[in-house]
Symmetry: C2
Subunit: 334 residues, 2 copies
């Protein structure tokens, strides 16, 4: 099969044998894969990952191993998306770790992560995942929508972490791909959502779905200039400078959700968190079922965020394109 791998900060195309399957795992033919900022960070050395990147995908089950004949028949040919954290139990570790025992598989102490940590990902013709990670995509949801399930689930994670009914409005910092999904998810629950971003075109996208948008400079001057505050603020700029403004915009005793996972240190003043008694909630991977339900209901349609689709063979070009100013979601189609 065709698969890309990270080599010297570039994507290199390789011809590889089909991956072998463990019992209870599926071979999935990738129908479409999305490029995420994390993939770009991986190229820059994040997690020191040398395998095949890519963790956003929609695919089709090609083969299943070690399940009952009935189960194999149930899965084969189904269009699926897949949770990216592969936990203890899927590798046959016994006993499973304390986090898996508590049902926190995304925090499994021995997890691999599709296309990020120790497990080859979706920038290939095929990938493997445990059956327990797969979710069937309803027929009414297109590939172009389903490929967003992973980041949309990450946006939905916020709703699992806070009691959204206690808030009347929210601010989302950042106007990139994840921020756009977060604003759309919050807008399904709140009448007033305001996005703070640097790019007029990206802000225009979110205005179309009933989210207010405010242009900021993205530097320290914002912190001095802006006077409004919110009970709920989501930091999704992907940039070290976002946290200071996020703290500024969070009202005393407010909630600040952190979504940015850029690496490296940023100079941060933490006393506003203490003085305002802010609750800061780190938020990562989320519930696929909720994301699929949002797509199925039509309450969120992320397809407008697609900038361009490349063939898988052009993955190197695609990831360069994805880093260009103004690019939103870039897809790969094997």
């Amino acid at each position: 099969m065709l698969a890309f791998a990270v080599h010297n900060q570039k994507l290199v195309m390789k011809e590889r044998p089909l991956p072998k399957l463990r019992a209870g795992w599926a071979l999935v033919r990738v129908r479409m894969a999305g490029i995420c900022n994390t993939d770009i960070e991986i190229l820059c050395g994040y997690h020191d990952f040398r395998g095949t990147p890519g963790h956003e995908f929609v695919g089709e089950v090609a083969e299943v191993r070690g399940a009952s004949a009935q189960e194999r028949a149930r899965w084969r040919g189904r269009r699926v998306v897949g949770e990216i954290n592969v936990s203890c139990s899927a590798y046959g570790y016994r006993p499973v770790c304390t986090f898996c025992r508590r049902g926190l598989k995304t925090h499994c102490a021995r997890r691999t992560v599709l296309g990020i940590v120790g497990h080859d990902g979706a920038f290939a013709e095929y990938l493997t995942l445990p059956l327990e990670n797969l979710h069937v995509v309803p027929d009414s949801v297109s590939d172009e929508q389903a490929v967003f399930v992973e980041p949309l689930a990450a946006a939905c994670e916020i709703l699992d972490q806070i009691n959204i009914s206690t808030f009347r409005e929210a601010a989302v910092l950042g106007d990139g791909k994840l921020a756009q999904l977060i604003a759309r998810v919050l807008r399904t629950k709140l009448p007033h959502v305001v996005m703070y971003g640097k790019h007029d075109k990206k802000l225009a996208l979110v205005r179309r779905v009933g989210v207010k948008a405010r242009r900021v400079r993205g530097d320290a001057s914002d912190v001095k200039r802006l006077r409004e505050s919110y009970g709920l603020v989501v930091e999704a700029t992907g940039s070290p400078s976002g946290l200071a403004l996020a703290q500024r915009l969070t009202e005393p005793r407010g909630t600040l959700v952190l979504k940015s996972t850029f690496h490296g240190t940023a100079p941060v003043e933490t006393w506003p968190i203490v003085v305002k008694e802010i609750t800061v909630i780190g938020s990562r991977c989320g519930p696929f079922a909720k994301a699929l339900a949002l797509l199925r209901s039509g309450k969120v349609d992320p397809a407008a965020l697609i900038t361009r689709t490349f063939s898988l063979a052009e993955a190197g070009l695609a990831i360069q394109f994805a880093q260009k100013n103004g690019a939103m979601k870039v897809l790969l189609k094997p």
Copy 2:
């Protein structure tokens, strides 16, 4: 009256008239005042405060204005401690701010803070506070204990912010005055509390009250070296380097309480908060009634933390002494 004020990063002694009283306020004769790290930061320019510092005190009500004869009689001569945030209503602002309306007086948008923001404090023979801020000290609680009520209440604030019954153990980072009180308060609720600190003598103090103690270097090597983790971690080092270790010691989905209010920026990596989905809770002033109850019950006795008591006239000397390595609580006695 004798009162100290901040001038050119030093405490300067002054003779001043007795402060005038607003209706509903009390004149309090200071019996004893404590020196806090915030006072030292104020000397260095924190909040640009030029008045009389000092916010930890026990005193005696000397005069009350604008209350009923019955209420005046009830207060006069009573030994009291006082909450340091003075809210809208005490200054007669109408309507009161949204935070006061929600009962969050410590977050009042127009508050002054005793000895810190816009209101003269306890490094003087007398101070003023609204009656609504005062709490009577039970006879069984000594001045040497009562002078700790303000920082002890700040430690108790943690118990109001988290559901302590969901934790079995906790780590406290820092071995200074506030960290010592926090460890004692947590120990009243949890069988296992571990303090991480740099000073053998300070760690020895906490071991005596059933808290485990672990010596660390207080630099980046701790983050690499330590392997244990906790569901609940309290950062009270007062130092920018504390946050990285605190993040390291907090387990996935754990709670990290921030108590340090040092000013200035620190280089911080925030991705561990996101990847581990840590909840970070900023924590400041707390419930005086709970602190008094702890002292009265004998469950916490902070008197062992007193290093030395100076006369008020020696306040300049005392605040220098308080900055010496190994000094814990330093008191002033008018």
